[in-house]
């Protein structure tokens, strides 16, 4: 069947199986080179295999929860949205969450996802206690920081190429309410935004929306949004009455693929309205419910369709601290001159991270969408070269464009180590995605 990632590009005809138990899964793994697929939220071709894509969503049971430690053990096909639905009313929230709650636990492990709190709490791997992984021989191996360490470390961020993640033990964070105290700061340009990030490193959550069309003095003008979990006492009465707000039904939806030009018109207006509103009011503080704070796009069902039938590509890089300022200015200039990118980009400060193959490193990460076209592809390639030149990395969960050479230009040492590990464990013969083949991993 035809499958794609969230970006609707590339669309690939894939053989898909849907195992329901470990035996069926082992049979699928042993059949031919395979890749596990969760809820299809990687943007590109990370979870596609022409001959053997394994849909893991039948493995969707929660297995145990310890209210003393907040440790939840669940199968890899469980979605983050299910975890929030079950545990937020009891005062628990994911310790690390990406920008959509419709990701599977297996996918979160494979991409070692990050959230707006990376500078404080690190990536998803930091709240994972152990994993059960189906290895190339079809056996299940428990791995953690204490046992089978190598498997654990390389599976976290290993894009499903070391084995199939079957069970995850993760720690949730205890929260007093489902509300976030959000403070919005206006930054006149990119340097201003970076200064703001550096001055607010103690904020739990931080992220910036950048206007990609502004140029010159205002290149990179942005809204920097900081957030803290609100306590019950500080909440205004209306919020306090609804301590753990539930997800209201999705009212908005994108029923079919829109022609590409719609997108920028909407987002331009929305951003401008916000920017000037905030600019006039000065720094503003408000209480926002968890869903609109962490998952603003989730409430627009199928938002990926706004890019039309050709789909889109997302570019996300991270640049190390010392070259971030120069590198990002250069990139934004390139993007605004091209007029190709989405109107909005997302900028985020990463904290330190030591991991084998995960994306984050201490520095700044920039993410934006491009409607799929030849010119977008060449711009993304150019941005990739700039990333390499500044010592940065590309996020594989978003990538659908890079080639083997440009991956090695950004990440040579880690890539060759990853290849060695995969070769030694037999994973190289057993696990492959369209992406790993493109990148010759």
């Amino acid at each position: 069947m035809k499958l794609s990632g969230w970006g609707n590009f590339p669309v690939v005809d894939c053989q898909l199986s849907r195992p329901r138990n470990e035996e069926e899964l082992a049979n699928a793994v042993m059949a031919s080179r395979a890749i596990a697929r969760g809820n299809g939220r990687a943007y590109g071709d990370s979870a596609l295999s022409r001959t053997n894509t394994i849909d893991m969503r039948k493995f969707n049971h929660m297995l145990s929860f310890d209210p003393e430690t907040g440790q939840l053990v669940a199968e890899a096909g469980v979605l983050l949205s299910d975890i929030i639905a079950a545990f937020l009313p009891r005062g628990w929230f994911p310790a690390v969450t990406p920008g959509t709650r419709f990701v599977s636990l297996g996918g979160m492990v494979a991409a070692d996802v990050h959230g707006k709190n990376h500078h404080i709490d690190g990536s998803f791997g930091n709240c994972v206690d152990w994993l059960d992984v189906m290895t190339p021989d079809g056996e299940i191996m428990r791995c953690s920081r204490a046992e089978n360490t190598e498997l654990f470390e390389w599976t976290m961020g290993g894009m499903g190429l070391t084995g199939v993640v079957l069970r995850v033990a993760l720690r949730l964070r205890s929260v007093e309410t489902g509300w976030i105290r959000q403070t919005t700061h206006v930054a006149q340009n990119l340097d201003d935004a970076i200064d703001l990030f550096e001055d607010t490193l103690d904020a739990t959550y931080s992220v910036a929306w950048i206007d990609c069309l502004s140029t010159g003095e205002t290149l990179g003008r942005s809204l920097v949004m900081l957030g803290e979990h609100a306590t019950l006492d500080e909440l205004p009465g209306t919020c306090r009455a609804n301590r753990f707000p539930s997800v209201t039904a999705q009212k908005l939806g994108v029923p079919f693929n829109l022609p590409g030009f719609c997108l920028n018109q909407y987002s331009v207006r929305a951003f401008n309205a916000l920017y000037y509103w905030n600019g006039q009011r000065g720094d503003t503080t408000s209480y926002v419910n968890w869903n609109s704070y962490f998952y603003p796009l989730d409430s627009i069902r199928d938002w990926n369709r706004i890019y039309g039938r050709k789909g889109f590509a997302q570019f996300q890089c991270v640049l190390p601290l010392d070259s971030a300022r120069a590198g990002l200015n250069e990139m934004l200039k390139e993007i605004s001159e091209s007029g190709r990118g989405s109107f909005l980009a997302v900028l985020k400060r990463f904290g330190q991270q030591d991991s084998r193959f995960s994306f984050p490193m201490e520095g700044y990460t920039l993410a934006l969408d491009f409607p799929m076209s030849d010119r977008s592809v060449s711009l993304i390639q150019k941005l990739g070269q700039m990333t390499a030149a500044h010592g940065g990395r590309i996020y594989l969960a978003k990538d659908s464009i890079m080639d083997a050479q440009s991956l090695r230009a950004t990440d040579a040492t880690r890539v060759s180590e990853f290849e060695r590990i995969r070769h030694n464990s037999g994973a190289a013969e057993r696990f492959a995605s369209v992406q790993s083949e493109r990148l010759k991993l």
Binding site: R18, R20, N60, H61, M62, L63, S64, F65, A86, R90
Partner: protein, 245 residues
């Protein structure tokens, strides 16, 4: 609506488990009944962790008619709602050549389900309250060459439910007939189903909960099926017998 226990008969199927999730989400304790019920331990724990409701497992074989009354007596509590999700599709082609296998399909889809609901109906009637939900099939609306063994049994089950509803109309006991159409389940995973006509198990579960709350009598999970089946019912027999649908 009170949140008394919900008994799910044939609890291993995708539709049955999805229905259990939908009721548990509202806080109903769940009684899962199936053959070899100990294999539903993971499903039980999943429901308990997610919804903090009590879930119990019960061995139940729909064709073991002699022990059905005993099965009901052994439940921790007479359920408020009983959902019968028992059913087997069979293999039409081979069952055509093996009449005893065909009879097994008929019994599992009609005789067994009707029998257990008959017993539950009497207990509910005596109590003066309760809801019985029978998951039947659009296949029972008109016999077709490709699945008439299964379909005929479902036709019988549908008629049984309709009669039961009629009988119990003024007793405080309500009967819901569910005609799901195509559903993306293990039962149908080898069939090539049209997307627009195919429901997810969770949609069936939600539709069943809605139907019990609103006292619906007969529901199609996807409304389009009401139209499809109306058309199929009205095709004149001389024409219908020559069609392959």
């Amino acid at each position: 609506m009170s949140i008394g226990p919900v008994l799910i008969l044939g609890a291993r199927s995708d539709i049955a488990l999805a229905t259990a999730h939908s009721y548990a989400e509202l806080g109903h304790p769940i009684q899962l009944a199936a053959r070899k019920s100990e294999t539903l331990q993971t499903a039980k724990e999943d429901l308990e962790i997610r919804y903090q409701v009590q879930v119990t497992l019960h061995d139940f074989d729909v064709l073991d008619l002699e022990n059905q009354a005993e099965f009901i007596d052994a439940l921790p509590e007479l359920p408020e709602i009983a959902v019968c999700a028992v059913g087997v599709l069979g293999d039409q082609d081979s069952d055509e050549q093996d009449h005893l296998a065909a009879v097994q399909v008929m019994r599992a889809n009609y005789e067994g389900p009707a029998s257990i609901l008959a017993l539950l109906a009497n207990r509910f009637e005596q109590r003066g309250s309760g809801t019985l939900v029978g998951i039947s099939s659009v296949a029972g609306e008109r016999g077709r060459a490709t699945n008439y063994i299964y379909g005929s049994a479902k036709a019988g089950f549908t008629a049984f439910l309709s009669g039961l509803r009629n009988r119990l109309a003024n007793t405080g006991v309500h009967v819901v007939t569910v005609l799901p159409g195509f559903v993306d389940t293990k039962m149908t995973e080898n069939l090539d189903l049209p997307n627009k006509l195919t429901a997810q198990p969770s949609e069936v579960g939600e539709a069943i909960v809605r139907a019990t709350r609103k006292h619906k009598n007969v529901i199609y999970v996807k409304p389009i099926w009401a139209l499809v089946m109306t058309v199929i019912r009205y095709i004149p027999e001389p024409l219908f017998k020559k069609m392959r649908i």
